[in-house]
Amino acid sequence: MAADQLTNTNAEASSSKHSIYEGSTQYRHWRFSQEELARKRSSLNAAAVSVVRDAFEADEPGSSSDVSFLNADEECLLVKLYVGKISQICGLFRFPEEVEATAMSYVKRFYLKNTVMDWHPKNVMLTALFLATKTTNNPIPVESYTSRIPKTKPEDVLELEFLVAQSLGFDFAVWHAHRALWGQYLDVQTVPGVTRDEARRAHQAALVHVRASRFTDAEFIFAPSQIAFACMSLAAPQVAASWARLRFPQTADTLLSTTEPIKEMVLAQGSSPDVEAVRNVDRRLKLCKNPEKVVGSRAYVKKQEEAERRAEEKRRRKAAKVRKAMEEGDPFGSELAGNGGIEDDDDDD
């Protein structure tokens, strides 16, 4: 009991000791240094290559030797292309910006946990977007969603929903730079000497940069407000500087200098990648994707059979247990009272 109370009061992000942002899952689970991010991706890629290589070998010994696997940068490039596609689809449906930005974050987060060699970003992107409509409170029925996307069936979207949610660690809430920018825009209007029209133009121009920032890793490294401020100072350096000096007289200069790396990142990486380069990656991906994930392939069938065999064995074990209980005179078995364990003992679903 005492231990319970202790863990309760020590809950990670308790009320007033932290800013709201520091209590968020975004801050706690999805913020990295640039180096961490690079390390994470390269080790994920190395692990994926070795798994896929093994799958090739298991399927047919020697078959992996002439496969050219994707490296981490190539994976990123492909993901980036599909992050860009989200805008197009959102335009088609006229989804609010919240949906678009959230879906983009989901796809980027997904590929910090998964490889494109297992799950192609085209499918993941469609599922992430569908999930984002729901998590941002803009749900539409799955049929109306898929009916307007060529060659896509409801199953294609729903099949991956669980995997995507799981990969996100069920952290559905995302704090966005465009929201922070909106707040700054409202506040900029109170700066003496900045006309309302100037403020509006600064916001419009900054928003273009914020949208570009979604192609970059900025959201994994910086706070939304930092990104927003960097974009504001890219768009209207004078306005941004006078706002900073008014709001944070002590620290304005530090603030202005810390946004430099964000500005560079947005300018250098804030656009959809060259389609030709990606096409080449995608072509190679066809040859190096995990055969166990390709529906109908030999390796896929083999894995399915293995899973089915294990499930069958579990059912047999359970049936035997029930039979034994029956013989001992208790028709309902004793599993509830006893050993419990983690086994998900009801196959009723």
Partner: protein, 372 residues
């Protein structure tokens, strides 16, 4: 095995399901424990496969907000994992809820007990509001109570972020008896004040030991409110006659709250009055409520561990009420609809508690114990 799948399996292995304690069309609830420590937990298994639009909105809302909120007065979501096509929410185990406490006639409440429950409710709510989250279903049986007496806001299946000004929200939220007049008049732009009204109703219920404003229909709910608090005037609540579903309901006189709550202190009456102000913008905020003289004067609130608790546990196997019906069925727009008003029911009679047919809307019930 994929890394993600493996991480899920590892998480799953931390928890054991012991005993089914409730079942509905939406979810099955188990009592369970953390294997390493033996800590008691509740595991809510949501059946996902059956929804044609995938993960259902209530589950998404609940997970989304509880992942972000960590506070002594908000139920803690300890973990989320999946088994096959089911979503499992591991929640802290809570013994009872405020409704069962209120209905237990053998318990006597001291004014300081009520002060304590109110303080904990406002603290939890202030934290939600500070995080830009509206609860939208506050009522006594969504205020769960831990073994140590701590009260916790639960059931975030109808919660949402504040909308931007000018963005419509559904008015079909909050169980009727706790629903504020602006929602009953069809107001689609509202704020944290809706939750405050609910807290006001709960406050009154704690003193009366019976629901304060038990309307039979939405229309009757408005009449019930006006009978108790007087029909609002244009001066009191500017613009209310322009609300979408406004109907004139006759002129009920104002009776001072003091007449009904004769034993309450002036500070207590003052805070209750401020929670039940018609004009939503003038209704007190959770933050200001915490600084209200009610909490600053007179006797201290009772320590949570000393609060009255039901001695005997209710024993009926209570079904979980259906949790669906939140998504807009035709999807013609971004709006989300809550349960139809007739589904947001709560039984009137306290006999129902004993009769075992008490309807519990989207709430975990942890009170049933397996007979040895």
């Amino acid at each position: 095995m994929d890394a993600v799948e493996k991480a899920n399996t590892d998480r799953q292995k931390r928890w054991a399901k012991d005993q089914k304690i409730g079942e509905g069309t939406y979810a099955v609830v188990y009592r369970g424990r953390e294997i390493a420590t033996g800590r008691k937990v509740a595991i809510k298994k949501i059946k996902v496969g059956q929804f044609k639009d995938g993960l259902d909105m209530s589950a998404i809302r609940e997970v989304k907000y509880l992942r972000e909120l960590k506070h002594a007065n908000v139920i803690e979501l300890l973990d989320v994992f999946s088994t096959k096509q089911n979503l499992n929410l591991v929640l802290e185990f809570l013994d009872t809820d405020l409704e069962l406490v209120i209905r237990d006639r053998s318990l006597v409440f001291l004014p300081t007990d009520i002060k304590s429950w109110m303080a904990m409710t406002f603290r939890g709510l202030e934290f939600c509001h500070r995080n830009f989250i509206l609860h939208r279903d506050l009522k006594p049986n969504n205020l769960l109570i831990a073994a140590n007496g701590q009260l916790k806001l639960a059931d975030f299946g109808l919660a949402r972020d504040f909308a931007d000004p000018g963005y419509k929200m559904t008015c079909q939220v909050i169980t009727r008896w706790y629903r504020p007049p602006e929602l009953l008049f069809g107001c689609r732009y509202y704020s944290t004040a809706v939750d405050i009204w609910s807290v006001g109703c709960i406050f009154a219920e704690l003193m009366l030991r019976t629901p304060y404003l038990p309307g039979e229909t939405d229309m009757d709910q408005l009449k019930t409110i006006f009978r108790a608090l007087g029909t609002p005037t244009e001066e009191e609540w500017p613009g209310h006659t322009k609300l979408p579903d406004y109907v004139p309901l006759g002129n009920f006189p104002k009776t001072p709250l003091r007449d009904l709550f004769s034993a309450a202190s002036p500070e207590c009456i003052s805070l209750l009055t401020k929670c039940l102000i018609y004009e939503p913008r003038r209704r007190i905020s959770a933050r200001d409520a915490l600084k209200h003289p009610y909490f600053m004067t007179g006797a201290y609130p009772t320590h949570p561990s000393k609060l009255p608790k039901p001695a005997s546990k209710a024993s009926s196997n209570l079904p979980l009420e259906e949790l669906d019906g939140n998504a807009e069925p035709n999807g013609n727009g971004p709006g989300v609809k809550a349960n139809a008003p007739n589904k947001l029911k709560r039984k009137l009679s306290s006999d129902d508690v004993n009769g075992g047919s008490r309807s519990i809307a989207r709430k975990l019930d942890f009170t049933q114990h397996r007979q040895p």
